[in-house]
């Protein structure tokens, strides 16, 4: 069976590998140290997984806003997103 119809590119393959690694990492983290829901910067009680979801969804919107509003390098949006994700995971 060929996967040509899925039209893979190195960039998208890398993107999904990162997502898969994040999910595996979160699972291992959960096994090693089970998460306790807490309240941080966000106005709601969240678990680690909730914060990751909010962070990834927010990152997608940051990238879309960047693409829609500027012609600057997308890497800047990626760096902003990673900072956002770290802040959210640590203090969210």
């Amino acid at each position: 069976m060929t996967l040509e119809w899925m039209a893979w590119t190195p960039v998208t393959a890398g993107f999904f590998c990162v997502i898969a690694l994040i999910l595996i990492g979160m699972t291992v983290w959960e096994v090693v140290s089970p998460c306790v829901a807490r309240r941080g910067l966000l106005p709601l009680t969240t678990t680690r997984g909730d914060r990751l979801f909010i962070g990834l969804l927010g990152s997608a919107y940051i990238h879309l806003t960047w693409v829609g509003l500027t012609d600057l390098s997308l890497w800047i949006a990626t760096v902003i997103s990673i900072c956002f994700l770290i802040v959210l995971m640590r203090w969210g």
Partner: protein, 290 residues
């Protein structure tokens, strides 16, 4: 027992994982792949980066379709929620009349969506349709194929007729779950009908109404079959909602790259709303507990 020691349970979710992989994850991956390429044909493609996203995000027609979609969903909720609650309040509480009302109300929900469109095309035709002919004979020119306002009125009528019963059924279930003691206490206090509704029925229905709101918003935001059959997105672009515009790009023009980028943006909008509604639902749940 530690949950990690009980590994057998994982086999029970394997079939779901396999089905979801084939029905959702693999197609989604393909859409992501398409969104960054110009697809000419099998094996012929060119990497274009985020060009399609830029094009789609700056597309004026997409902005119009998005506002139209939000307006449609907003109107649907504004009409269907109060109407559904009102009908549920007026419905018989027991006996054969209650069963008969429930069956009659459930009928529109059982009709396939494309058939609904066909029914309303015929129903609103100015020459032979009962509604169209009646309105026109009253001296009001009504033609949903030529007039944008008429097309919207027809769509709203169809949507309200089709989906208000869902709100009614949910609200009715919520009302029936209220213990009789609440009403007796209200009667002793001499509460008015409005006070009973405001301070007993509405708070007790909050959970089911949130579910109704969520379902109705999502369904109306994703609407495709009914307007496609009824108006085809016209007249002009008056009823071209997001899904109709997306299909025009993907199937009509065969622009798979822009259509894939559009799909992902559409998906992200829906994901955001789903999450917001889910949070609201959770808040309602915890609010009731406290």
């Amino acid at each position: 027992m530690n949950k990690w020691d009980n590994n057998k349970a994982w086999f029970f979710i394997l079939p779901v994982l396999v089905i979801v992989s084939f029905s959702a994850i693999i197609p989604l991956m393909t859409v992501v792949n398409y969104s960054v390429q110009d697809i000419f044909g099998p094996g012929q493609r060119l990497f274009v980066g985020v060009e399609w996203f830029k094009e789609v995000l700056l597309d004026g027609r997409l902005h119009e379709a998005l506002w139209r979609q939000l307006a449609f969903s907003g109107l649907v909720l504004l009409i269907e929620m109060p109407l559904g609650i009102g009908i549920a309040l007026m419905m018989p509480k027991k006996g054969w009349a209650a069963s008969a009302s429930l069956v009659i109300l459930a009928l529109p929900l059982l009709i396939p969506w494309n058939v609904i469109g066909t029914i309303w095309i015929i129903f609103t035709r100015p020459d032979i349709g009962l509604f169209g002919a009646l309105v026109n004979s009253a001296g009001i020119a009504f033609d949903h194929t030529a007039n944008a306002v008429d097309a919207w009125i027809t769509l709203m009528l169809m949507e309200v007729w089709h989906w208000t019963p869902l709100v009614v059924l949910l609200a009715y279930a919520g009302l029936r779950a209220i213990p009789e003691a609440y009403y007796q206490a209200a009667k002793i206090d001499g509460a008015s009908s409005w006070a009973i509704f405001r301070f007993i029925q509405l708070p007790k229905m909050r959970g089911v109404l949130t579910i109704a709101l969520l379902l109705r918003f999502m369904d109306s935001f994703l609407i495709y079959a009914e307007p496609f059959v009824l108006t085809g997105g016209g007249p002009g672009n008056a009823t071209t909602f997001l899904s109709i515009y997306l299909v025009k790009i993907a199937v009509g023009q065969f622009d798979l790259g822009p259509a894939a980028a559009f799909s992902l943006i559409y998906f992200l909008i829906i994901l955001l709303f789903c999450w917001l509604f889910y949070q609201a639902l959770q808040a309602v749940g915890t609010g009731e507990k406290s």
